[in-house]
């Protein structure tokens, strides 16, 4: 069983919803990332989505675009990101890490080389935003060799037929994009998401995560009622941006924000238990 599947199995047994923070690796400075990841785990992160910076993040809104720009100012490469994961794994052997990003940096390293290095570093899942299942069969085969999960997106515009197809390729969990739009730009509509998740569950037994439109404890708690995982991205990245000039204070501040979400979700999980 992969570290991701194990994580979800344990949470399910406890009646809990997974909390997944997203941060861009190397933002605003490379040394911040590993301490930040540990702080996020301490604040209640169950899985971590670590963004691989890319020069042209066309599925991201301004908040994560700027995070990529900050990281790239320091020339943070995919290799550096893998080094950060390895360093994180020195102290933490249990929290799954999913790399999230775009195809090109992975292609530039080479799919096979990347898969091997990612496995060595302790990566558990890979989500390439601009590479749907149809285009990622080669990468998927390489990741399969090391039992790294290929995570795929489902969107509000995904047809039932595509849902079925995506479900047949997905591993670990399926990530439902809760808004039509780029990251961090709109708030989600819970009842709409509920309907889509119900439809998606007809085609898969995998856990379902929801992200893109969750901004505060209230929306996190509302989503935790219908999803197996709640992904928080732009809200945390905005907090990182605010601490650009005071990076030493940043891990605690971002972790504090995540802890609020954790409390809101736990309160909801308890209420429904």
């Amino acid at each position: 069983m992969s570290r991701i599947s194990e994580c979800f199995a344990n949470l399910k047994a406890d009646g809990q919803t997974a909390l997944i923070p997203y941060v861009t690796a190397g933002d605003p400075e490379p040394w911040v990332t590993v301490p930040l990841l540990h702080a996020l785990v301490d604040a209640g992160a169950d899985i971590i989505e670590l963004g691989v910076p890319f020069s042209d993040p066309m599925s991201d809104g301004p908040v994560i675009q700027k995070a990529c720009e900050r990281a790239l100012k320091n020339d943070v490469t995919l290799q550096h990101v893998l080094d950060m994961v390895r360093q994180f794994r020195d102290k933490n052997k249990t929290t799954p890490i999913v790399l999230m990003g775009y195809d090109n940096p992975i292609e530039a390293m080479g799919y096979a080389v990347f898969a091997e290095k990612a496995a060595e570093a302790g990566v558990d899942g890979v989500l390439t935003v601009d590479s749907p299942p149809e285009e990622s069969s080669v990468l998927r085969q390489e990741l399969d060799k090391y039992e790294i999960d290929s995570i795929y997106l489902v969107a509000p515009t995904t047809s039932a037929e595509r849902m079925q197809r995506i479900a047949s390729f997905a591993k670990g969990f399926i990530y439902y994009v809760s808004i039509k739009g780029v990251t961090g730009t709109a708030a989600l509509d819970v009842s709409e998401v509920r309907g889509k998740l119900a439809q998606l569950r007809q085609y898969t037994d995998l856990p379902l995560g929801v992200g893109f439109g969750i901004r505060d404890g209230q929306s996190a708690a509302a989503v935790s009622e219908i999803a197996d995982a709640v992904v928080i991205g732009s809200t945390l990245v905005r907090c990182i941006e605010e601490h650009e000039k005071r990076p030493e204070a940043l891990p605690a501040a971002v972790a504090g924000l995540l802890a609020e979400m954790r409390h809101a979700i736990n309160a909801r999980d308890l209420a429904s238990a």
Binding site: S59, M109, V129, V154, T157, G181, V182
Partner: protein, 406 residues
Amino acid sequence: MPELKFTDYFKSYPDKEGHFGPYGGRFVGETLMGAIYELEEAYEQYRNDPQFIAEMDKDLADFVGRPSPVYFAENWTKKLGGAQIYLKREDLNHTGAHKVNNTIGQALLAKRMGKTRIIAETGAGQHGVATATVAARLGLECIVYMGAEDVQRQAQNVYRMKLLGAEVVPVQSGAKTLKDALNEALRDWVTNVDNTFYIIGTVAGPHPYPAMVRDFQAVIGREAKNQMLNATGKLPDALVACIGGGSNAIGLFYPFIEDESVAMYGVEGAGHGIESGQHSAPLCAGTPGVLHGNRTYLMQNKAGQITATHSISAGLDYPGVGPEHAWLKDIGRANYVCVTDDEALEAFHELTRTEGIIPALETSHALAYVKKLAPTMSSDQTILVNVSGRGDKDMHTVAAMAGLSF
């Protein structure tokens, strides 16, 4: 050289998933997958629909002014002393460039698909103007994304778009040029996918755009083939066109691909010189990768980050290139070369003075290569060069090079 066989080309490329060999494809976020399948379906339905074709042909004739002439550049031919040079006059189209061939087609498609809002990206502003023009005519809302840097250097086209009723959005991210405008247009499309049609201006983007834009631009090559046969009794020996994303080049090349005697030259912008790193020549100096929905040659660093480009002409200032050109390069069917800003400027002035035709700076890159190629060929051979646009929009840039401003 082994004998090359390209006679199965038309039926082989792209494949059903939009691949030209390893290039092309559909590399977009899941939210857009539904929209690009919807577009592909509509395009497949209408491309062979007699009513659609008739409506498009009528627009191309009465609104654009097609067919554009093929003109024998006698003075320039004498001056260069070699092959006979023929110009395909896309500069005479309504709005001043080849771009309108494509926007006519895509806008008619948008209307049939019931889309009420048009978005586009633009570099030089020619595609933006061509899009704003068709949107005005069809009464569609039109938003054009343009890099803030390009808004500066193509101010006149910005004003034209505004006159036509389009909203021009300056893009402040990244290098503030064409690639960033494309990113922003894609972000808009994801956000407004239900009512919005994205008119991409070149043979880039996810499938079906590279094939669809090529088909709309192929009218250039179809016309030119007949015109050359009428004028000279034979096919041209060489075709030359500039390459930004590659739409005017593929439009000229495509109908000739299976005619193996016809050599093809795509000319990229070498900017300040390839060795300076400041250029926009992915086919000459780049490596394959994935950007803006397809796999193709890109200007990128070793870590897979897209690098900054430079060209004197905004329309060539793009780090990628249409995937079909990547494939034509790999299979050896077309040759890809590049010329510097200075060489392009020199050719700009030379055509203006010898033939009384002021070309666009993009086009001037193709002309600069003709200056190198023609003298190496004999006087019974012919070169057909695509004059993709006229130079009106570049008066500011050219004047500034001479230390003048208006």
